[in-house]
Amino acid sequence: MSTPLSRIGSIEHAGYGASARRRWQRAAEAVITVALRGCAFLAVAGLLLIVVFVFKEALPILTSAETQKEASLAGFAATPLWQPVGDVPKYGMLPLFVGTLKVVLVAMLFAVPFAVLAAVFASEFAPARVREALKPAIEILAGIPSVVLGFFALMVMASWLQAVTGSVVRLNALNAGIALGLGVIPTVFTVCEDALRAVPKSFREASLALGATPWQTAWHVTLPAAGAGVSAGILLGLARAVGETMIVLMASGNAAIVSGSVFDSVRTMSASIAAELAEVVFGSPHYSTLFFLGAILFAITFVINVLAGLFVERLRQRLAGA
């Protein structure tokens, strides 16, 4: 579309014989195009460099005999103890996996119902004025830095929860999970609401015209039509929950315990990295192990995000076909 237009411009200019200037201009345009392409490439380079450098620092776990004496894949699985500091360091990752799973599960069980129901409310039922009040509240929640949510969970919410549940340990998986859930709600809400609003009006009108109630329309027509987008929202929330660091670091108590109870203190993968990396010796087995944890975190969130992207694409195609 732009090419023929620029050609029209060039014919006009040719009459004035300013060919040297035009040659210079064309060269400048070419340089600029390459520079802009370079800017775009930065995003690709950034992602590639993250992969290369996080995995590179974790590599001694797999390749270096020296490192493997202390930290190896077999060692990660052999013991249920995470005791990286001590005479005989133990890097059993089971407690970290269990801890992450517990906190993430609590967070998702807390956040998803709230976020999805509120998104249905905002897109299907809420009067315009109520919606205009709800959205800033969500945006405020999204704007609260995770360190502030962590602070709130640590200083305030933990005491309230302990008073309600009577748990022995003040900082536990429940406390961290709920705080993490608060951090996840805006992600899930925003993506779900966008998906619901993308459903064409004609779907709803057809359903209502057939005699369905507004709730039936929302539940049986709009939600299924936006299903892929809702799934994407939940997945993006899940990825955020798995990788989130400051909230769990501050609110979970950070004890590496294998247990099924949400009232026990937990240590997650992300919190281990944050808590321990500052004190490790560069290149030591512990250092490599923490980067290995980072590589696992990256891999998990990457897969979830790619999956979410596929769902978004599916929603687009579905609604485009409609």
Binding site: A40, P145, S146, F302, I304
Partner: protein, 315 residues
């Protein structure tokens, strides 16, 4: 596709008569969920404002921490945060906007390069912030920094945590935000403007520089402000790349370490020897950080609303 989508969903309609009452209750449930979210936000904000506002005085903002951070103010943390985000924006916005211009004005939509860029932008946005911290340490400090030290013969000038590396780590973290918002902004510029400019004989770049960018400026600013707001609150990426627990002096160059509001909150609430004594300072710091990010977000939201209104008016 559309018939396959809607036809089976309408099957359970016979329930319509019986379902009226429960439908009303369920509708109410969605509203209740929304209300509870608003309430939770109000409780958090209220709690912090209530316990924090008394601490935030001019002296608190202008003084340095005293007596093992149990007294005094937070000026070094404010200074460090501002220095950090300024450096970040300077490093980030030109490249982010450049990438957005490429994606929207130049890129052939189906080429493998364009798809690789879009894929990277989407997935970069989902990388956990702690992984950015690891990356900053492994790449910027250990690889680039130590490498530069070796090449230049400098003694640990580049190869250690500093304002520079923390800002670059945050810049990469916020790259997707800036690209996505800048591209959205470019989309709001009517095609007629491009055509008019080119019909007058302007080159593509002249059109972009003199017509598109001024038009897209509010959107570009929105992205920059959002990235600043997010950058000011992120702690995990800067923990190992430059933020310091406590410093008796302000950073005087990009090679110095720095104090930062978010990290200060983390330090005060987890490593304080006397939590009760530190509490007013802690709450004050949280309130200052919240107000800072809140004001930035508000500006971004207003700018974006104006931009979207413009876009809607065009359709």
């Amino acid at each position: 596709m559309s018939t396959a989508l809607s036809a089976p969903r309408l099957a359970p309609l016979p329930k319509a008569r019986a379902g009226d009452g429960s439908g009303f209750a369920l509708t109410g449930l969605t509203g209740f969920a929304a209300l509870l979210i608003v309430l939770m936000v109000a409780v958090i904000m209220g709690n912090i404002a209530w316990f924090g506002w008394r601490s935030v005085t001019w002296e608190f903002l202008a003084a340095t921490p005293k007596e093992g951070m149990t007294a005094g103010g937070i000026f070094p943390a404010i200074f460090g945060t501002v220095a950090l985000v300024v450096l970040m924006v300077v490093a980030l916005v030109p490249f982010g906007v450049g990438a957005a211009i490429y994606l929207h004005e130049y890129a052939p939509p189906q080429s493998w390069f364009t798809r690789a860029v879009r894929f990277s932008v989407n997935n970069l946005a989902g990388v956990p912030s702690i992984v950015f911290g690891l990356f900053g340490l492994g790449f910027f400090i250990m690889f680039v920094g130590r490498g530069l030290d070796r090449v230049t013969g400098a003694d640990m000038l580049w190869g250690q945590p500093s304002l520079l590396w923390a800002a670059l780590t945050l810049a990469l973290l916020n790259l997707p935000t800036v690209i996505v918002t800048a591209e959205e902004a470019l989309r709001t510029v009517p095609r007629e403007m491009r055509e008019a400019s080119m019909a007058l004989g302007a080159t593509k770049w002249q059109t972009i520089w003199h017509v598109l960018l001024p038009q897209a400026m509010p959107g570009i600013l929105t992205g920059a402000i959002l990235s600043v707001s997010r950058g000011a609150g992120e702690v995990a990426p800067i923990m190992f790349t430059g933020a310091a627990y406590f410093l008796p002096y302000l950073p005087s160059s990009p090679f110095d370490q720095f104090m930062e509001l978010g990290y200060h909150i983390f330090v005060l609430s987890t490593q304080s020897p006397n939590v009760d004594q530190t509490k007013p300072i802690l709450y004050g710091t949280v309130l200052v950080l919240l107000l800072l990010t809140f004001l930035l977000n508000l500006t971004a939201i207003l700018l974006r609303a104006r931009m979207r209104a413009k876009l809607a008016g065009r359709d």
